[in-house]
Subunit: 214 residues, 3 copies
């Protein structure tokens, strides 16, 4: 299995891992609290937490031919998602009250997952268009899987600026690579763009456009 | 990654690609127009268009061990599916009125995808039974994924002669290979059989059988 | 593709295959009878039978990088699942009346699939935590896919002791490997533990816990 040739120094890599695990935990909370609202049992809470946190990256890794996926090779991803599930199981009420902080962390995870997913797809040799789509899938696929598991139309397909923000970040990564810019600052700018667009769109109540006359 | 050893001359290969892309576009329209009916936003329309057009082939490629799937290696597939999504977003009303022409093109796509999927599975060394199932999955999996994404029971599981037509085409390909017949005419006959059975069954209102006493 | 290095003598391997195929058949019945209840057509009955019987193992094999999955390499798996589909199509009424025998066979399949899935994941080099999860996914993933295909929240996420029993068996396999115990008796004990917990929990009406205050 090819290692991912990301030209990132070790201390930055540690920082990225920490941010990645925070993203996993926050995405996991979104799955776990939804499972509690849907009256699932402890196992269901854990499954929705795992799905929300990790399914996007799993889909990406299967599609680029990188099985087993990263989250099955480093126990910390599974542990972060399971910890989120337990937290949601025990503390769903206070977590649900923390609407705005959770939204802000989720926006950070959205940016991080987009940039990481898009960069990994490029590193595996995909061209820009599929790499951008895989970046969005990495960031949005877990939430979609979470909703499908409770037999609901994924929120990301019908509400708010979420995938569009992710797409902006993927575009930044693609443009940066195309222009030969150094990958780390490009990744930071890309993730920050996702974060900013997502947070502003929630605060302003923006939505993605619907079909004319629909 | 092994190339697909299809013994097809270049000009025919161009023709096949063109037909394949038409199939992708028409399948994409079915996803995009359903998304508009379900009041999804622009991103949701694009996702349903991509899913309906490409998910069947993606499932096949993952199952035969051919990741990344063909649709992520040649941008024309993604572009055809996205073009269908935009067309559905902007022109859903006239497209929905074109019931019969769209059905006829969809039947052509059904035949083409079945034959291509079954042939690719055989080329990757699968035995006839799984190859036939993968042919049907290539042709019907996208429509099933499209319906699942809007939380509906896939139409292909409950209505009309659709998968049965696809299965007929897969059987033709398998029989042709078993008898050592040349692959190109067999593929044409297989796709034509799917097309004919599908179109006739729609015009006559045929349905697949239901369980006795159900 | 690496063969699975299970240190199992041939006659035992025959016994395991027979038990595996019985498990596939019984799981397939659960899919086929659900499809009949949901008024799907013959093709839908077959798809739900295949999904319930085989999807768990397919997900496992895709995730560990063992494509094509085992059920596409040995026709007997597909044939057992399709036979279950035909049986459900023709005899759904008597099968539905056989509640308790079917439950007992299903519990045996649950144990067998858990142990086989977990052992295969370990044989492919995964660490204990993901291997345990893949064991549970092997045993429970087919039933979840079956329910998702008819747009229902998977029963395994909301009812009864099912996944928890599977998790117990995975824990036995992991513990046995950690302690260096011989794999065959450990597998037998693991499968028996799943079976016993599942059957007792149904007879006693036990359920997995729900979130406090949910």
């Amino acid at each position: 299995m090819p290692p991912i040739p990301l030209p990132i120094p070790t201390s930055l890599s540690d920082l990225l891992l920490a941010m990645d695990l925070i993203g996993v935990f926050v995405f996991g909370l979104s799955g776990g609290t939804l499972a509690v609202r849907k009256n699932l049992d402890l196992f269901g809470v854990m499954v929705l937490s795992l799905a929300a946190a990790l399914a996007g990256g799993v889909f990406r890794d299967l599609l680029i031919g990188a099985a087993p996926p990263a989250s099955l090779r480093d126990d910390r991803y599974l542990l972060a998602a399971l910890a989120a599930g337990f937290a949601a199981f025990l503390f769903h009420r206070p977590i649900n009250r923390l609407g705005k902080p959770v939204m802000v962390l989720d926006a950070a995870g959205l940016g991080l997952f987009t940039v990481a997913g898009c960069s990994k797809a490029l590193a595996y040799g995909l061209t820009p268009l599929p790499a951008a789509l895989l970046g969005v899938m990495t960031a949005c696929g877990g939430g979609a899987m979470r909703d499908l598991l409770v037999a609901e139309v994924p929120r990301v397909l019908r509400e708010e600026i979420y995938a569009m923000a992710s797409l902006l970040g993927a575009a930044v990564v693609i443009a940066g690579q195309h222009l030969g810019l150094p990958p780390v600052p490009v990744a930071v700018v890309g993730a920050a763009a996702v974060f900013a667009l997502r947070v502003v769109s929630v605060l302003r109540g923006w939505s993605a456009p619907r079909a004319p006359g629909s």
